[in-house]
Symmetry: C2
Subunit: 256 residues, 2 copies
């Protein structure tokens, strides 16, 4: 097996938590497989979650802060704040990114959302200055991505008829919106359910399964999201007739 | 018209932005209609986005921080940090909550996600100590909720066949996950698209439409999400046969 570089981003305030344990497990497992690993433990780093004018040292405050424009200028000039630049360097270094987080309110915890908001800047992860089509291998293209998510509720609540919506739909804004859109190659998420009262046996089973998923990080089939170039018009709509037979809802955006 | 109480939560770092203008417009429009209005301008308040041990003054640090348990204990004991308690008081005071935000990475900006993560605490917005079923009028029940979202991309990208997914699906984790699940009554979102280069005419049209939506805040038909009590089993799955004819995807969770 060839050695790869993996960035693990972890977002839980308590190292002695399930999320902390899964982060440690992933790091050890990947190192044992011969990979290089770097970790961004966002709480330990006291990661600043909010995009604001401090992200852009050249913003004078004389005029209004246009976030998209300021991001692009600072990114292209190499003048982003040091914490953001350091994270971008890690992403560029990596062959794969693993995000470990508890599902809070059906999405990323704020500290991890803020990592995306700040690190995936205009001019770095997307935008007119990134060689288009940035979903097809430019920008962050070629990097695999795996969400590892700890969920308090039961799996049935996230099933096809579950009240919270299918997990793939709930995570679509991250899987497709963040990862696919920036050219990364997302795998199906790894989820541990029922974390509110996880038995030792269920935890052991989850570790085994997570190990298998980490073993397949560079070989498992990714989510078969479509090609922005081939399958969508200039108005960003799926071309007529492109859908798989019977595909509905967000499933439209998967290849047959 | 009867006077109501409206909490407007705004999440943009620049007051001289479209989001800032829409916040000011909403406040003036609601006041002119005779309502009481309070504003949480999260950036101006320097809102702390991340849930951590500082939220729970009674957490000694001797044992691991269990976020759900610590939230519940602190909420029930009235021992949450003062900034969180102040926001909960505003939510309780309100008859409706309006969230004004730019769509960043297909979701809430981190500072607003952190408002949800911290304010909608276990024991306040959900949880076993909140009289069940908390989606049917307990907890935050009876309050209307309106997302007002500024989106850089074009509307076609968020249409039924749009690459980013239908707006209703992209916002499902907020509309259904956060608002419906805590007993609130979400309206269809108000969205302004194409904000990257919004013409004065388009802005004027958006203001007019937003005014109409604010006029209907307490009278417009809400999103017809289902009843957790009547339509779902104990496993949180939609009961067999409950779906509307032809309903697919996340549309399953709307009544016929």
């Amino acid at each position: 097996m060839s050695t790869k570089k993996v960035l693990v981003v972890s977002a839980h305030p308590e190292p002695r938590s399930l999320n902390g344990a899964l982060t440690s497990f992933a790091v050890e497992h990947l190192l044992a497989a011969g990979h290089e690993v770097r970790v961004s433990d966002l709480y330990a780093m006291k990661w600043k979650a909010t995009v604001d004018a401090d992200d852009f040292p050249d913003h004078t405050g004389a005029g209004p802060l246009d976030v998209l424009a300021a991001q692009e200028r600072a990114t292209l000039a190499g003048r982003l704040s040091a914490d953001v630049a350091a994270e971008q360097e890690k992403v560029v270094w990596s062959d794969a990114v693993v995000l470990q987080f508890p599902m809070w309110w059906f999405s990323l915890p704020a500290i991890l959302k803020g990592w995306v908001d700040r690190v995936f800047s205009n001019g770095f992860a997307f935008g007119v200055t990134v060689p288009p089509p940035y979903t097809e291998g430019a920008a962050l293209g070629g990097r695999r991505a795996l969400l590892s998510v700890a969920i308090g509720a039961r799996e049935s609540a996230f099933s096809a008829r579950g009240a919270h919506g299918p997990l793939a739909d709930v995570l679509f804004p991250v899987q497709h919106g963040v990862l696919w859109f920036t050219g990364m190659t997302p795998l199906e998420p790894f989820a541990v359910y029922g974390t509110v009262d996880l038995s030792p046996e269920a935890y052991a089973a989850a570790r085994r399964e997570y190990g298998r998923r980490l073993d397949g990080l560079f070989t498992d089939d990714p989510v078969p999201f479509r090609s922005l170039v081939d399958d969508y018009g200039r108005d960003m709509r799926l071309l007529p007739g492109a859908e798989a037979p019977g595909a509905t809802g967000l499933g439209l955006h998967r290849r047959p």
